[in-house]
């Protein structure tokens, strides 16, 4: 075995290779200009939770991937990654979408809201978040960000929904703990229909 290959050297080497690979992205961007007209630029500006974020996005990248792994917004969960569970639900222009089944390049000129964007500047929780806590809506909590986003969207268009309307609005969000009724209690409390 090569005595000079210490653990420290190996790790340094890996980091160096990583740096070289990311500077390679510069070449990639430069060559993008030679592509046929209409192909997307990778470096784009997104509007996330009211802030402009510059980010390097692959053409085939999903919004869930960008949010979690490039912007550190891990409140958006990936459950199935196939649009079949709702854990990745975010708002795009106030409408619910599955972030796992949306290309980041498709939301360039839109307003994206994730669960991180709900609380007020002073840290006060959004009324839906507070209501879900008071009603003990989550059990394990993995589907909760998605349930919250679906509820926030519902209450924007329908501030006092019936329980049935709420059930329908949250029907695109699975909860494997089966805490559906607790979430519906949370929706009723958030809309001021429970005291």
């Amino acid at each position: 075995m090569n005595a000079k290959l210490t653990r420290r050297r190996f790790i340094k080497g890996v980091i160096f290779v990583g740096a070289a690979a990311s500077s390679g992205a510069g070449f990639y961007l430069a060559s993008a200009a030679n592509r046929p007209a209409g192909g997307v630029e990778r470096l784009i500006t997104l509007n996330i939770n009211g802030r402009s974020r510059r980010v390097d996005v692959m053409p085939q990248e999903t919004l869930a991937h960008t949010l979690r792994y490039k912007l550190g917004l891990t409140g958006t969960k990936l459950g199935c990654n196939r649009g079949e569970c709702g854990a990745c639900t975010v708002l795009i222009d106030d409408v619910t979408n599955y972030a796992c089944s949306t290309l980041t390049h498709m939301v360039k000129s839109r307003q994206v809201t994730t669960v991180e964007g709900l609380r007020a500047a002073d840290g006060t929780l959004h009324p839906v978040q507070q209501a879900f806590i008071e009603e003990l809506s989550p059990q394990c909590g993995f589907c909760t960000p998605g349930q919250i986003m679906a509820t926030v969207s519902l209450l924007k268009s329908n501030p006092r929904p019936s329980r049935d309307e709420a059930r329908k609005a949250l029907s695109g969000n699975l909860c494997r703990c089966g805490a559906y009724d607790h979430y519906l209690n949370g929706v009723m409390r958030a809309s001021g229909q429970l005291s």
């Binding site: 053409p59 990654n81 709702g86 599955y98 498709m106």
Partner: protein, 329 residues
């Protein structure tokens, strides 16, 4: 090993004019893939079961959005979402069968991005095919579903030809019932196809469930005023009320004159590769009142001629019962 959570590298084009999209589609041909809402697209690509080299994102083309009144009915842009369709007042009041069909699709989030064009041109859901197996539809020479142990409870009752997959579209039967016309653009211009002829079975083309060919883009759907404000019935039966595809669905429109059915169109979804018109039932109920006695007189007619597979016999009574409900509702 590829990560099945990420898609492999592809080009992405975002045209904002139909002309640009059409020339991209023509230039890329088989290497390109049209994306609207993308809900039928990303699964194929994440699973590596289909590998387009470039995506053509149509969602920036504003002229393909919206619902307009025309001299004879309405025109719905191809990119209009299913949510926009089922919440549109004009469609709800005049073409209720389409509003109900659009509302029956998948889940709220999918309806928020899923488009009308995508719903009618989505590929079939046979799980052997979706898994990427080399079946007839994928260009191979066998069918995995129509075998003694093949899991085929969701498959076809009628007109199977090698492939036994069914149409997954919920809006398709409603559009066929309403006698809609599909507007298709390509580099050689515009052509229109009746909704009934838009869907094709495996005997005509085993690899494509519609007449759309590479280089062609479905840009709008026109619905004539003929069935506006007609009596209608829509029901979709599925294992789950959300996300799931239909086991059997029925869209019907009826013109009632003097208490009797003067004319009707009844179309079943998910029983063959195309929406299936129940022409025998339509002519049998002509001139009869819409009631239980009429329903009884056509009992069993809808499923006549069905050739069930090992596990889908239950779809026959489903069809017949939906027709009964449609006539007594």
């Amino acid at each position: 090993m590829p990560s099945y959570d990420n898609m492999p590298e592809m080009e992405l084009y975002q045209p904002v004019q139909i002309q640009d999209a059409v020339s991209l589609a023509a230039r890329l041909a088989e290497r390109g893939w049209l994306v609207g809402g993308g809900q039928d697209t990303y699964g194929w690509i994440k699973d590596r079961a289909k590998r387009p080299e470039a995506l053509i994102d149509l969602t920036g083309i504003e002229s393909m959005r919206g619902i307009r009144e025309t001299a004879d009915g309405i025109e719905i842009g191809a990119l209009t979402t299913l949510t926009e369709i089922h919440s549109n007042d004009m469609i709800r009041s005049q073409y209720g069968v389409l509003a109900e069909a659009a509302e029956a699709v998948a889940s709220p989030q999918i309806r928020n991005v899923g488009t009308l064009a995508g719903n009618v041109s989505q590929d079939v859901r046979c799980w052997y095919y979706r898994r990427g197996l080399q079946c007839y539809r994928a260009g191979g020479n066998l069918c995995y579903a129509d075998t003694p142990e093949g899991q085929n409870r969701e498959h076809a009752l009628f007109n199977a030809s090698r492939c036994v997959a069914v149409t997954p579209s919920d809006t398709g039967p409603a559009l066929v019932a309403l006698e809609a016309t599909m507007v298709i653009n390509s580099e050689s211009g515009e052509r229109t196809v009746a909704a009934e002829d838009f869907f094709v079975g495996p005997d005509v083309d085993i690899e494509n469930p519609t007449v759309l060919r590479s280089g062609e883009i479905l840009t709008a759907v026109r619905i004539p005023a003929k069935w506006a404000n007609a009596d209608y019935f829509y029901e979709k039966v599925a294992d789950r009320n959300v996300w799931d595809f239909a086991l059997v669905s029925l869209a019907s429109v009826m013109r009632i004159e003097g208490g009797n059915i003067a004319d009707s169109r009844m179309v079943c979804g998910a029983v063959e590769c195309t929406p299936r018109r129940l022409t025998a039932v339509e002519s049998a109920v002509r001139g009869m009142p819409r009631n239980k006695a009429t329903a009884d007189s056509v009992a069993g007619m809808a499923s006549e001629g069905a050739r069930p597979l090992n596990f889908n016999h239950f779809k026959m009574p489903l069809m017949d019962n939906l027709v009964e409900r449609s006539l007594t509702a």
